[in-house]
Symmetry: C2
Subunit: 720 residues, 2 copies
Amino acid sequence: MGDNPLQKIMDPASISITGASNNFQKMGTIQLVNLLNSGYAGKVMPIHPREKTVLGRKAYPSVSDLPEAPELAVLVVPTPLVPEMLDAFGRIGTRHAVVITAGFGETGEDGRGLEREILRIARSHGIRFLGPNCLGILNTHQPLNITVAPILSFGGGLSLASQSGTYIAQTVGYLERNGITLGKAISVGNEADIDIVDCIEYLGDDGDTRAIGLYIEGVRDAAKFLECARKVSAGKPIVAQYVGGTEAGARSGSSHTGAMAGPDFVYDGLFAQAGVIRVNTIEEVYKYGWALACQPPPRGRRIAVLTNSGGPGSGIATTLDGAGLEVPEFSPGVQEKVSRFLPGHASPRNPVDLTFHMGMENMARNIPQVLFEAPEVDGVIIHGIMDTGFMELMYPSVKDYIPLAREDFLASMETPHLEPLLAMPEKYGKPLVISSFFDRSDHCIRVFHEHGIPCLDSPEKAAGAMGALHRYALVREKGLDRRTPSGRGPAPEEAQKVMAGVKGPAVDEFTAKSVLRAYGIPTAREILAKTAEEAFAAVRDLGWPVAVKACSPDIAHKTEANLVFLNVGDRAGLERACGAILAAGADILVARMIAGSREFMAGMSRHPGFPPCIMFGLGGVFAEAVKDFTIRLAPLSPADAFEMTGSLRAGALLGPFRGMGEADRGSLASLLVGLGNLALDFPSIKEIDLNPIIIENGRPCVADALMVIEQEERDGQQDT
Amino acid sequence: MGDNPLQKIMDPASISITGASNNFQKMGTIQLVNLLNSGYAGKVMPIHPREKTVLGRKAYPSVSDLPEAPELAVLVVPTPLVPEMLDAFGRIGTRHAVVITAGFGETGEDGRGLEREILRIARSHGIRFLGPNCLGILNTHQPLNITVAPILSFGGGLSLASQSGTYIAQTVGYLERNGITLGKAISVGNEADIDIVDCIEYLGDDGDTRAIGLYIEGVRDAAKFLECARKVSAGKPIVAQYVGGTEAGARSGSSHTGAMAGPDFVYDGLFAQAGVIRVNTIEEVYKYGWALACQPPPRGRRIAVLTNSGGPGSGIATTLDGAGLEVPEFSPGVQEKVSRFLPGHASPRNPVDLTFHMGMENMARNIPQVLFEAPEVDGVIIHGIMDTGFMELMYPSVKDYIPLAREDFLASMETPHLEPLLAMPEKYGKPLVISSFFDRSDHCIRVFHEHGIPCLDSPEKAAGAMGALHRYALVREKGLDRRTPSGRGPAPEEAQKVMAGVKGPAVDEFTAKSVLRAYGIPTAREILAKTAEEAFAAVRDLGWPVAVKACSPDIAHKTEANLVFLNVGDRAGLERACGAILAAGADILVARMIAGSREFMAGMSRHPGFPPCIMFGLGGVFAEAVKDFTIRLAPLSPADAFEMTGSLRAGALLGPFRGMGEADRGSLASLLVGLGNLALDFPSIKEIDLNPIIIENGRPCVADALMVIEQEERDGQQDT
């Protein structure tokens, strides 16, 4: 990393803050309060035009009055003052800033102009900055806090970067209640300079950060995101929520930070390719992120579930199943060991249901010891450990009947010895997740919180957290950092030659396929004919039966125009087909009939801020109704492409299926890699649609191809 | 209802409890404590063999010593004592009981015998009882509490019935923190007598209950569940979690209560047909159930979202979109009215982002007033209302700098006038849901809790709760209580005649189709031939081209055996086909070729405890890979069947699609109704598989049919 600007921003030796005063109604004041109270050890220099001191610290009337250039400038001043303040800091030698002030790009054209202006000023001084329109930063390791909320706990392994300041600065109480301690947190605001990818890079290299949580409304440069995130995710889990995929989500997001949203499925592909664990709620960013920061990923899929009730056990088992994990029945040996600690009728099979009991030694120590030791167990979830929480709940009811004071009553419940359990995850290299409906009023929950054992407040969420750990295990297995796109030289000569002669918007099928073939993409052998006689001659070469199709850049919807004739088996049929096609003013494409009933599709589309998006999906006429497809970004590594072929819901079709042999996924993957290279070589190609791709004797063959060239004006012909 | 036994059980004039003592380590004691502390106004008579008083109440040495027959007997005694105790209560005239004691059906064969025994005893006395192996009941309206946890708040509208006692008795603290007040709650245990359907019936008629939450591991009689739940759901929302659909989930559940689990998709169908809102977590049962109990369902899909930050606004909008709701941009008129209360750059479009501000009048009163009044808004979600929660958080940081005591500081934040907002949902008949990361330490949150305004602890959950309200609006629209299955007389004579001659396990296609036709299910015209000559004669009747297939009960997999010849267009082809079929020892089925490229499938399967399960799905060779299908239970009402045809992911195929006309969903629905009737008429039919059903000129036609007859021994031939 070396020169990531966030190193200095997150760990500055000195800070000057402008916009703080002694008025607690001002946001800057709150931010200074939090900075001072965070325990920050560096020098703090408030700037205020009139006050001599601010919150008891000597204040300086202006930037030029500062005794030294602060390593970090924090600006919470009115919008119009930002350019001159930034310039002033640059002149005295400050090189890092956090611009909290809003009123820039998020407000419209004028604001965008002002944002360009401060970027220009910053660049002129070599200043790197966060914001504008951000809510500050948090580093509980340093410690350093420039947000509107206090730090409640210190030194956690989960770090955040967020395009919404709320999720950095407005959830501290919530996180504390849930036992989640942040390490570092960055509100990126409008990302005029430093963006969320810089944050991923910084947090990826940061020794204090063990998992990264992201809240994303849109990324500006998906290629840069992909390159960075896939390196980081190989060594450190990244969990992310993306919310820009709907019209209203995008409207809300972009009005806020001006970030660039795109269709949801494109982000699905980006995250999958980058090894980012996608989640759907901010709760999952926090809670699964915390689990990922604290617990090792499971080495396999076999999870042991220990509860004091069948209900939570079933909820956990069902959710684990949905997450691709298993709750296998234990071997007789493990069942026998577990049984020693079970009451009469309880089942040792997995889930283990201890039934309700106030003594905790079996649930919190003896049985977990058996489970962690068992080689057949890859991870453990426990529901039901508690002590004082239950007693607190009961005390008001029983106090009239017992001679004990509240404290003595609470103490009367045996406190489980949790130390052995707390040590098991690290000792055995297996994750432990706790499910509990109790909160921090329960002593056990507080102990778990303090020791980095994730406590989820429902059985299903505990299972979900284990699912996230499993997803990370799968990411790590992939070795994404070692994936490199296939080598790509200049565009093949044949393709260059053909493309040079192409006029848009639509490209005829014969031409499109010749370009595809130049990239090694298999198509049926086919011959272009101008007359029925030429077509008949072609059949002599290809053999009956043939497919006969109209070929013209002006006819994109051949099927709907009834100009596709499949399985033509004799001369009479061929002549009928040619007659119809010639009458429509098109050339005749005669192709060998491809034999196969499994149909897939592949395609390429472009989205702002993204490299070419390559799609693979279930094909045929009904593809658009079935909507079973996956996306990755070009250039594809062979491994990326191979994974795509395994990502369909209907993936079973590619295996041996109802008497059909296994499809050659390697050839399908090559096809996708080639499609990506083609798209990269010719940016003028706006859209490619290969549908169907028929599996013939196990190998893919493109039966139809549509290619659309970028034109200034949209003309509707790109619809397929 | 009239004679639902739960009326008396949930509201008894007197209770005798056996198993309570003065020892607080005993569960029965805890239950008596909670009964006494709940404020129960009726007579309580503990039974104890030795103690003179229990918890200060006079105790009776045995049942026969009681001064009167209690209306309700509660048994928490050791398992072997239950039969004699129940008998003793029966003899003195008690007619209702709750058997908390475990050790019955859930423990194995002996336990099942004992469970049958107590059922026999109960029936001999006319006793109706809950349990065994349950955790008691709760009625916060009476009030009455016989669980192991205290009542913390009273009189809520959400009532529960649960097959896990934990979800009745172990979550009170959790519910209190989340502002959820139960009305009534029933732990059903092993359901030896009273089952979860009785609970639905009781709660459906209960005036205190406004929404019903269910936790289900399996239902014993799905037909009874369906009949009851669809009546209840027409007037009162039911939200349910089912967890028995996976192997481990079923293992955990059944080991617990011995309930009957089944495949997940069957329960999906049952719940859809019954108008039950299915959720995947117990948190959703509670939180969405609470929203359903407190708020009216939205009249349309248009939700207004008001926040103090873009992040939560985007999360809410994206989640609403996924739930089938909309966040439409407001009309200029509404935008103008909203703008009056917005700071400079904030957007009035929807979501409305007020940006962070300590003053709450606009967020909590002025803008909601505009939104509730607007006819274009069907429901409102607000994120960001708070007061003391934020101040509590800040006080430790600012206390050194301000001269205010904690209370004065807290009071220094303006407390919003919430009364107008609290009244808006009822006044305008539109739902309000609050999203907040604050908890009950915030005064506003406490006020919302007390006034039945659901507060969810994340933006996405608030949107999810609104989604549940919307789902209930859709259920109510359907008028499920007015749906009746199509009238069904005796089985058609033709079907009876054919079925009388059928030997299993497999039924040949020609025979199967003749049965189908007797139920009005359209098939292609077809003729059975014994020789090629007969087949040729058949074609004279049917016309070229034809489908030629082997027809034999011994050949279930015709396609895989290469004995299906489609599109046979001439005599030579016909003879080739006949030759192959005759060589395989089969008859020749000659059928008119059905022309159409849209293929669906329908089927029937049987599951223990369920009426025949009718399936409709995407068809063709690849159906099993695509797995796009829906289930309902026979007998189907025409409306049920029609809904099925609209329930596929690939539902777009049935509309006008790529040049094909709209499919006749009414005819498809009739086909499904007929299939259900057929299955009901002939219980010996184990499985029916109609695949493909081809849409020809818009109407469905069954192209292939497989029917399997129940036999004592499974022989594998039922696989298709």
